[in-house]
Symmetry: C3
Subunit: 467 residues, 3 copies
Amino acid sequence: EPPHGPEMVKNTNMRWRLPLVCLLWEVAMIVLFGVFVRFNPEADAHWEKEKSGRNLTSDLENEFYFRYPSFQDVHVMIFVGFGFLMTFLQRYGFGAVSFNFLLAAFGIQWALLMQGWFNSFQNGKILIGVENLINADFCVGSVCIAFGAVLGKTSPVQLLIMTLFQVTLYAVNEYILLNLLHVKDAGGSMTIHTFGAYFGLMVTGILYRPNLEQSKDKQGSVYHSDLFSMIGTLYLWMYWPSFNSAISNHGDGQHRAAINTYCSLASCVLTTVAFSSVLQKKGKLDMVHIQNATLAGGVALGTAAEMMLTPYGSLIVGFICGIVSTLGFVYLTPFLESKLCIQDTCGIHNLHALPGLIGGIVGAVTAAAATEGVYGKQGLIHAFDFTGDYKDRTPSVQGGYQAAGICVSLAMALVGGAIVGGILKLPFLGDPADENCFEDDVYWEVPEDEETGLYHMHDPAIKPVMP
Amino acid sequence: EPPHGPEMVKNTNMRWRLPLVCLLWEVAMIVLFGVFVRFNPEADAHWEKEKSGRNLTSDLENEFYFRYPSFQDVHVMIFVGFGFLMTFLQRYGFGAVSFNFLLAAFGIQWALLMQGWFNSFQNGKILIGVENLINADFCVGSVCIAFGAVLGKTSPVQLLIMTLFQVTLYAVNEYILLNLLHVKDAGGSMTIHTFGAYFGLMVTGILYRPNLEQSKDKQGSVYHSDLFSMIGTLYLWMYWPSFNSAISNHGDGQHRAAINTYCSLASCVLTTVAFSSVLQKKGKLDMVHIQNATLAGGVALGTAAEMMLTPYGSLIVGFICGIVSTLGFVYLTPFLESKLCIQDTCGIHNLHALPGLIGGIVGAVTAAAATEGVYGKQGLIHAFDFTGDYKDRTPSVQGGYQAAGICVSLAMALVGGAIVGGILKLPFLGDPADENCFEDDVYWEVPEDEETGLYHMHDPAIKPVMP
Amino acid sequence: EPPHGPEMVKNTNMRWRLPLVCLLWEVAMIVLFGVFVRFNPEADAHWEKEKSGRNLTSDLENEFYFRYPSFQDVHVMIFVGFGFLMTFLQRYGFGAVSFNFLLAAFGIQWALLMQGWFNSFQNGKILIGVENLINADFCVGSVCIAFGAVLGKTSPVQLLIMTLFQVTLYAVNEYILLNLLHVKDAGGSMTIHTFGAYFGLMVTGILYRPNLEQSKDKQGSVYHSDLFSMIGTLYLWMYWPSFNSAISNHGDGQHRAAINTYCSLASCVLTTVAFSSVLQKKGKLDMVHIQNATLAGGVALGTAAEMMLTPYGSLIVGFICGIVSTLGFVYLTPFLESKLCIQDTCGIHNLHALPGLIGGIVGAVTAAAATEGVYGKQGLIHAFDFTGDYKDRTPSVQGGYQAAGICVSLAMALVGGAIVGGILKLPFLGDPADENCFEDDVYWEVPEDEETGLYHMHDPAIKPVMP
């Protein structure tokens, strides 16, 4: 068993800390839900009044049927997509998939409350329906992204604390963007990806470990862990059209968002493969790029997918993002680590931060370029919701607000990440010693066969016997 | 090759028995389908009459669009969810996923017939549509649960025989509950989980193997088998809202069932993690708990999900079930094995039996507590189907019938399981010897590399060479 | 590192060739999309005109809600289904899943154009919507099938070239069948399976490698690679009802197609298991059969699923296909290799070619047997689209055209495959040497641990130490 020497200093025993946090917070959730959360009319059995009140001619018009299939796809992306994407580490599969599970399960509850207070609060109650579930999953998506930066270097207690704060900040940032600035961001280039990624990068920067090379041997993958990771990649890639269209306008809005995203993702795969090959001396492809950079095209359509970006516009965005993301993995990640002390385990800077920024800019430009000729007079009003207080807003002004949304998200992420990173440095949260990072054995009961079997393969004490 | 000594007595050669059973039964299915099964009107091409007769103003009102996305999620739960959940055993992955595949593929056909005779029989024909497919998948779900108890200890012929009888009994039990007692159980806490689990536990009790410790070394997992199992867990967890809402009432009924289940599952993850950690000396988490107990919250909402349980009520149910289920794995499973001679390979008692009972009780209480204030006058009638013969039934009476449903399911399961367990003891069904349990090699051609490579790692003949 | 001796002759360095092809082709896609591709009215924001013009009373009638859930299922089949099905090879998992990803991502773009020119071309523009995305995925499905025949023996550049030509020919063949012959083939028994499989078999025949036994040791599976492959199998199996119903007629058409396919697949599993067992001396099951032959029932319903085949008719088709496909794996694949010089890595002849032919025939017979008694007068016209130029066509004539469609698909596949195979023999495309086939190391950076760890297990230099 590994523990000996230096890491004795670190107490990673979770026996009381983790249960205490889980139980207390879950009790708090129950109390808050009890006080605040109820079904919205479309999920409430009190349908008699509803039917007459909202003039539902048919159960089919229930929001459930517009959104539920997309919700389930998003749900798979959060739990299987992000969870398995991070199983590439040879000895951290349990932690990757299960801590992602834990933080997401907590995060969606807290997000239902936070987002509910801001957006679904009526007469002292939060009224929830399927769209709230999607938004809660979206919010937690930004936490899963940040988890990618600190993967393998944090305790589950730290992760739960990060989730608590990040979800809170997410809801605030989202409120500023969607309600105060009135920007469009249905697939979350700004709110989910830019915010989540820079938040996570700031946190991992604050938690910098100068001696992390002590666990360098565990930072790589093994053959089958790379295949598990591809399960995550493919589910994210396939379902991204659902992600970007899940909360778009009914009808043509959802339809268009799915098509644009489909095109961008397809294009992104080709440029990822091209640059993965050209950047390696012998032209060999790198699974890290395939697992990650192929998804950048979806991230970058998070804002513009529901707009009239057109299929060829989407192809161009995907084309650029595959290149930027792959270059990021080859040049930027090592630079960030060596010069800026940012140890980004999964390379979220390349998959979420840069493409998120690109997505925000693409959205701002697409909005600013919108015309009545392309959208139709009613179509333009409908697409950008130029009604009520915003009925005089023009597309170019909208473009300006979209750009402002990028800056707000960045600022919230950097400031929030710095503060939360500081909190996570508290000494009693049970983070692993440098030489135990990226190692399931710290927090998990690992099967004995593994410990005595496969893992010993790396043991220098096992040597081929010369015949 | 392992076979030597005692297990020579057991003849596990399936060459004639398995093909014979498969082919005869499939021919029987064809004949019975030919005599009885036809499309229901919504799947029939004879749409002219239909359109006029049922006043379908649009193809959209076809039941297909209300149910098909949920059906596909349920389908994934049965084949990938249950199949992969059981791949945790180090050497029994082929059997886990493929025997589950085999018994489910047979079971759905037999279930279409059995359930059809009871519920969809008109003018001498069983008329099927998408709802029948969901119900067939549900029925087979209870067989997959029972399979979890006998996993690794039975031959495929035994499993097919168990499926035949269990599906039959399931249909009878379901008929008693839904038609005679008129209880609600849309997600099957009673019909699927309680029935399936106690049936399986009874069968494995009858098939008790006192010398099973001979294959103890194969009852554990290896690192990657635990990750495969997590694929099953996550798909079950993510799609459980679809499971509990798949056959609920259109509109608010399905909507509400999905929200309640989502909440319960989220809560359950936190208490599972808390108790997994607190019950281990060093506070380390156990993958067995994460793989299983996190799902108990879905099981326990199988009856009440479509009722006005409310989101906080669902959180409470999930909270309790995560605790009960994890405690069950730590204390009850060893107790059942040592004291009651029940060898429950997957711990279905903790994941399905106890949470199923809790679910039945929660359903009975929720039904009994229903009021017109909460549901509305029409809403109450609609939610509990208080029409026709049942138009005078009150919520509190309904609660009583719900409670009776639990008892009937339990009784059917225990008596049925005892009889079927007895049948499976017949000597010519090809079960493996004690030392060959949990071993794919008995019924499968296992890749040579595995036999000569990885598995030899466990061979004491390979020893680290001291330098 | 392996490279030594003979394969020095082969230059498999992709560094310039692969990026060049990817980038040039993607630029071509962008230009062509820019010139030709736009949203169709249901995805266009210009909804004002649309709403009045097409009399959409509700956003619900948007094609998106009829097709999107099925589209996502099909999408999963193409990328996870086909991708993981081919990971069974012990050292070719990266190539299987990632090259499938690459060729499909390119193929769907090219298919949107090719199919668009033939089917969705209006006023100089291709107008796309969700149905085009499904058709593009279908088209690429035929390329994934062909990839199965050459798996492990071709470079990514060869695969991209094959994709370019095969998609083109697919679109031509599809146009001939659907528009000129006016045949029904919603699930593609003829256009996807028969065409894709014989095309791939012809290509692999032309690329015959007489010394392939040099890499024989890598053609098998290892234990966990067989489990990865089962992920592909199950997703294909579960979602096949969506595949065959994705572009069927709204309402009863989609409903019926899903039910028929569900039945056929269930039946197919039982006969596959039966014949897998009976054909092995000790009655042991073979994972290759379970992974592949269980799917033949879906392939064979590609034409007739939307017709009134009836559930028992579907069971019969599945019954036959499970037998034919399993027999094919045992007897035909070795025969094709030794006598006809066709090296079919994945056995696509058994899974796609034969069941595809059966499916075409079943479709022709079912069409010829259609009557007004069964379909209703309007139902018959609606089901076979006997309108406009075809309003006088009778079912028996339709049957004849269906049969003609099989022949056309076969001819196109054989001639096209021969030509494309010839093109792929060009010497500068970077195919691997015979001893490096089925080996990721040629085109991928493989994790070091794998190279020095697990793989060395096969190294004869590691020997058990006798105690």
